[in-house]
């Protein structure tokens, strides 16, 4: 854990440099405090545990899950010291929101936030979208048994046989996309009538946020602030790419372009997108929300994609989901957030791969009904390569699906207990646990502290896809028995 925290600490240096460049000296001091504190915590852990030669699978997962909690507390230091939060809990909320690429914020007076704090807000999801463990493996870890750390952050697939090579590929691809994405958003910013200075910085931050499917924006009115269809287009492309499986990116880069049309996840994503979009359209027509087709489709497509990819960008005010989109509109977005993006991406939610396995298995069972009981079936799916689906895979998918569902519902019940209506509570809870970040207005600094804690736990559990939490439970149970 000490190695991971030490790796995390060095990222404070980037906003520190930004603060010095923009003469934000009070923020620079705050980042020095955060950096020094992180180094102290990291070395204290190293003193306690030492640098292990080999990690067991379970230890790797336990370390990852606990590291995220420690990272939340450390990441909250510059946020709290910036004076934009009324309590350290609020700063922790935003810190976890960034780490888990959720994008919900209770930062006050966002429009007067410094360049360096913004840099930190966007850097955290960009890094942690890939995973803290992933970056640790690339640069710092020289220990064996890092597969537990890798899977502990909700990743299961290996692009290359070696984990270290896999994560290096992930980072290479991410950095290439960063350069291309920022250049495109910069050009779109200029085209939208924004000055070159702001086009660059907002382009950089919006790209980082879109790619990480986070949903943080540098201004309080999200993407609505830019009043630009070009910025909407740029963020849409970036968030869709971010929500795609990394293995698929690698396959496409390797020249296997047909995989884009054959992959079960992409097919599932398209199917669920069309379904959700249709439900949303019915809801918006029922409410008479938009007067013309351009407005209608512009809002419906953007928000469906934003919710489904768990990005959380919005071009309407949060209150308008309730007052103008109605319950059906909200339910459509809830379904999108519930499912989420592709596995092995920066997106959250149950994931399209698992939904694809469900749909495919459901269809397979229907087909089997009319056949003799002695018939032997081999259930195959196309996901980068042909995969034979077995009971263990289905059981694992069901377990994750149920874990997400229970978390969503628990969060909604807590909201209802605190007096919020059920549908908005469910919307907010699903948005939180799936890492989306769309809000109907429940998330605010005035929210009860207990709800803030529940939402922090939801973000953490949802981002790590419960596997690490099961590992902690297993660790506690087995220790208890001894």
């Amino acid at each position: 854990m000490g190695i991971m925290i030490r790796g995390f600490a060095f990222f404070f240096l980037i906003p520190l440099i930004v603060s010095l460049c923009f003469h934000e000296f009070s923020e620079a001091i705050n980042f020095i405090i955060a950096f020094a504190s992180s180094i102290i915590v990291a070395y204290l852990f190293l003193f306690i545990s030492g640098e292990p030669e080999e990690l067991s699978f379970r230890s790797g997962m336990v370390i990852v899950s606990l590291s995220w909690i420690v990272a939340m507390f450390l990441g909250a230091i510059p946020l709290y010291l910036s004076g934009h939060f009324s309590s350290y809990l609020d700063a922790c909320f935003d810190s976890m929101s960034g780490l888990a690429t959720v994008g919900l914020t209770i930062l006050q007076d966002l429009d007067h936030t410094s360049m360096s704090i913004n840099m930190w807000r966007f850097l955290v999801p960009y890094i942690c979208g890939q995973g803290i463990a992933v970056i640790t493996i690339v640069f710092l870890a020289r220990t064996a048994g890092v597969y537990g750390m890798y899977t502990g952050e909700g990743r299961e697939e290996k692009i290359l046989p070696n984990i270290t090579h896999t994560v290096r590929i992930i980072w290479k691809v991410s950095l290439i996309y960063l350069v291309v994405g920022v250049s495109i958003l910069f050009a779109l910013g200029i085209k939208s009538g924004i000055s070159p200075f702001y086009s660059f910085w907002h382009g950089l931050w919006l790209y980082m946020s879109s790619w990480a499917t986070c949903g943080f924006t540098p201004q309080s009115t999200s993407v609505l602030f830019y009043h630009s269809q070009w910025i909407e287009l740029g963020t849409t492309i970036a968030l869709v790419i971010g929500a795609m499986n990394f293995s698929l990116h690698y396959a496409l880069w390797s020249g296997k372009r047909l995989e884009l049309f054959r992959d079960i996840e992409i097919r599932t994503f398209l199917l669920t997108f069309i379904t959700i979009f249709s439900i949303l359209c019915i809801g918006l027509i029922k409410e008479g929300a938009y007067p013309d087709l351009l407005s209608f489709f512009s809002k419906a497509i953007y928000h469906t994609l934003s919710a489904h990819a768990t990005a959380g960008f919005a071009t309407i005010y949060s209150g308008q989901f309730v007052s103008q989109w109605g319950e059906l509109g909200m339910l459509a977005l809830i379904i999108g957030m519930w499912i989420g993006g592709c596995a092995g991406s920066t997106a959250g939610g149950v994931k399209c791969l698992r939904m694809g396995i469900f749909f495919s298995d459901f269809w397979q069972n229907i087909r089997q009904i009319g056949l003799p009981t002695t018939a032997v079936f081999q259930h195959k799916l196309r996901h980068i390569q042909d995969i034979v689906i077995n009971d263990r895979m289905i059981r694992s998918a069901v377990l994750i699906f149920l874990s997400f569902t229970i978390t969503y519902l628990l969060g909604a019940i807590i909201g209802v207990i605190y007096g919020y209506p059920f549908v908005p509570s469910l919307f907010e809870s699903v948005s939180t646990a799936s890492g989306t970040g769309l809000s109907v207005g429940i998330t605010s600094k005035d929210m009860p502290p207990a709800m803030k804690v529940v939402y922090i736990l939801e973000m953490w559990a949802g981002r790590l896809e419960f596997i690490s939490i099961f590992a902690i439970l297993n660790f506690i149970i087995t220790r208890g028995k001894r």
């Binding site: 934000e24 000296f25 009070s26 923020e27 001091i29 705050n30 020095i32 405090i33 950096f35 020094a36 504190s37 180094i39 102290i40 070395y43 204290l44 190293l46 003193f47 030492g50 640098e51 010291l81 429009d111 007067h112 936030t113 410094s114 360049m115 939208s192 009538g193 924004i194 000055s195 702001y198 201004q219 309080s220 009115t221 609505l224 602030f225 830019y226 009043h227 630009s228 269809q229 929300a289 938009y290 007067p291 013309d292 351009l294 407005s295 209608f296 512009s298 809002k299 071009t315 309407i316 005010y317 209150g319 308008q320 007052s323 103008q324």
Partner: protein, 232 residues
């Protein structure tokens, strides 16, 4: 003369002129007329009304307690008429916040309203005008204007933005701008210039930074020196 005339929770609604009075109590005790819970302020010529809303559906007065007007008191009548006219004229241009607009979008949609607040971020050039974002209290709204006023300060980390008063047409879902909720300005007036916001460095933070940095360096050096011995 000790007679009490009291109008409670009177709502004066006039839809065409788009004005509303809510929860304003006009009381006249003794020989005087008193206005409670409504604030009369002056903006241009020194007149502004806050927390009073004018409505325009039906005009209705509920006269409680006394239940009648004192017809023989010409002064009271004239004064009341003056107050109502004053509310109508001044209230028709009272500043709204974002929550007002979003909570009753149908009421304000396509209506001329007035808002005031700080200009945020930066202006955005469009084909036939500019967009500026104004924090009108409760949130930021996009204001579309054909001519950009001479803005010196935009609200950001180091600056408090210029405060403007905008009169214009509110669109809940603007056809011209792909369904955005925005305000098309008819007039923009800068009512207060922004200023630079100082961000002084706190002494306590400097001391904390130095102390923690020193501790961190010591710990790293100590670990490098003794880590092999500690971990065995």
């Amino acid at each position: 003369m000790k007679e009490e005339v009291r109008i409670q929770e009177s709502e004066f609604r006039s839809q065409n002129s788009g004005v509303r009075i809510q929860e304003s109590e006009v009381r006249s005790q003794n020989s005087g007329v008193r206005i409670q819970e409504s604030e009369v302020r002056s903006q241009n010529s020194g007149v502004r009304i806050q927390e009073s809303e004018f409505r325009s559906q039906k005009s209705e007065f509920n006269i409680l307690n006394s239940g009648f007007w004192i017809l023989d008191s010409g002064f009271c009548i004239l004064y009341s008429v003056f107050c109502i006219l004053f509310f109508i004229i001044a209230g028709s241009v009272h500043s709204l916040c974002l929550n007002d607009l979003l909570s009753e979008p149908k009421k304000y949609d396509h209506q001329t309203i007035e808002v005031s607040g700080e200009i945020i971020g930066f202006s955005i050039k469009k084909k036939n005008g500019w967009f500026i974002n104004v924090d009108i209290g409760g949130g930021v709204i996009g204001v579309f204007t054909k001519e950009l006023p001479k803005i010196k300060h935009y609200g950001k980390y180091k600056e408090k933005g210029d405060v403007v008063r905008v009169q214009g047409v509110f669109y809940n879902t603007c056809k011209e701008h792909r369904g955005e909720t925005d305000l098309h300005s008819q007039s923009i007036e800068i009512i207060k210039r922004g200023k630079t916001i100082p961000h002084p460095i706190k002494k306590a933070n400097i001391i904390a930074a130095i102390t923690l940095s020193f501790l961190a360096i010591l710990l790293v050096l100590f670990y490098r020196r003794f880590s092999g011995k500690i971990t065995g």
